[in-house]
Symmetry: C2
Subunit: 305 residues, 2 copies
């Protein structure tokens, strides 16, 4: 059955019951807005929208379950990047009425599975017909304690730069089934003074300069130290996007204790010191200038994947 | 200059400064997530995503300013429908890299103008390339007091049904430049026990049965009482979508005081009693059964506009 045959109301009537009901939610999906009990006002509200587009972020032949998983996890990875806890998600799906209902059900299965992995409630959404390709926007809200909120801009000269996991080749391996580093980020900000953090969505070659620029600093990288994914070159580790690992800045005096405690807490996930933040040495030097061969990562509208 | 030539970062660098900075916002647009101070926990968090799609909700030739206005106001109209106050918006724009940068700037001008009209801060967003048509998702968060939150489901048998404004023909007149009834909804829930409310986005022929069904009731309508927009038939008043007026249920004992005080407060906007909620008279009667010629309004995937 196609979407046009079933219509939006019947489609939602099939999908909404499968999403479960969260006790924090007052008015559930299907009414005009979602409403939810909110936590104490001492915490910050955190908001993020992210979209995945057919022909850009996934192939028309991709598994709908995997596309749903990826769409949710991309937004959640941004929560990891500031050490926030996601709570509620809205889904906006733009899709041709000619598509099969089963595809949308599978998509929601992937979304719901990813949401459940981090105790996120899908509280509403919107579906629209389109004459074109499929586009899915996931909007997540949640919270972070004021003293654990990590922006990109807090890096200090001399901070060590660390990355979690391994870099490169995600597009061939796990860009559709990665798990955002929320648990790791929450552990980091609970135990260490993390000055700045970002998730590596566009590749370290793009995201590290972003962090440095936001912190008004330059950086150095030890290329030989980069934690390469199996079969990847240094070039790929720097340029490939969609690693969804964390890159963060922390005072160098914490280095030994961080590495020791990390290994106990996350024995299967590498943590690697890849370089440090340094002062700008002059007005002509930019954040990227210390790595002449730093290629650009994935930039929307400039390259497609 | 096209979007592909300018790239996402430069585009955002041009647009973000024009959105202004809101004092509630801690981490502004451009970081991984938006974060904002949240109000006291006694209020409910309210969340809504809504999308507009080129070729469905607007023509390729439509004014970008008007498209941005409409996209924001559609989501805000859902806030009006539950008497909520919108505070923060995220923008997710899916658009071809071949489109002109000026078009996107105009789009944001419309979004910002609509947001400013209701003191909403645009706190972040996401832009993605697409090989297809343009799609824009606006995700709004805000709050409502627990005792002023009006769902569709609270209607009682015997309640009067009122609509604001006039109905029909919006598609020819003002579907791109309407103003959501937030001020009116807030006034209503401050002064009257509103049992159930909905905004008329898909047409009364669809939205009234939705409200009745959610309240587990049937309804009667006095067709001769319908407030027709100039040049519209009863059929159009019932079937045309995108009126974005409020339809609400209130105890009939409040009728006189409501009409009198409304006229004082909103002298330019009609308020009309159009019918009432009644009990289901038997298992075979549905919410729509009392108006045999009630045609269906706009249903996504079934009809296009």
């Amino acid at each position: 059955m196609t979407l046009r045959q079933i219509g939006e109301e019947k489609l939602l009537a099939q999908i909404l019951p499968t999403l479960g009901r969260d006790k924090r939610v007052i008015i559930p999906a299907g009414d005009d807005c979602a409403t939810a009990r909110f936590r104490a006002a001492r915490e910050l509200l955190v908001l993020k929208s992210d979209c995945v587009v057919e022909g850009v972020h996934f192939k028309p032949s991709a598994s709908a379950v995997a596309v749903g998983w990826k769409a949710m996890m991309r937004a959640l990875s941004d929560f990891a990047a500031i050490s926030a806890v996601p709570e509620f998600a809205l889904i906006a799906l733009v899709i041709s009425g000619r598509r099969k209902v089963g595809w949308v059900r599978d998509l929601y299965r992937g979304l719901a599975r990813a949401a459940a992995r981090f105790d996120v409630a899908i509280v509403g959404g919107e579906t629209s017909d389109t004459p074109g390709n499929t586009a899915l926007t996931v909007s997540v809200s949640g919270y972070v304690e004021r003293d654990r909120c990590v922006a990109r801009s807090g890096g200090k000269a001399g901070d060590d730069l660390f990355v979690t996991g391994t870099l490169g080749g995600s597009i061939r391996r796990r860009h559709l089934n990665f798990v955002p580093r929320i648990a790791e980020a929450r552990w980091l900000t609970r135990h260490f003074p993390i000055h700045a953090m970002i998730d590596l969505s566009d590749g370290m070659g793009v995201d590290l300069p972003r962090l440095a620029k936001a912190s008004k600093l330059a950086f150095t990288i030890e290329e030989s130290a980069l934690p390469l994914a199996r079969g990847c070159t240094v070039e790929q580790a720097i340029s490939d996007g969609e690693d969804y690992e964390l890159l963060f800045a922390v005072p160098s005096r914490k280095r030994e204790r961080l590495l020791k405690n990390w290994k106990k807490k996350f024995p299967k996930l590498p943590l690697t010191r890849v370089g440090k933040l340094i002062p700008h040495s002059g007005p002509s030097r930019t954040g990227t200038s210390h790595i002449p061969r730093f290629p650009s990562g994935y930039v929307h509208f400039k390259r497609r994947r």
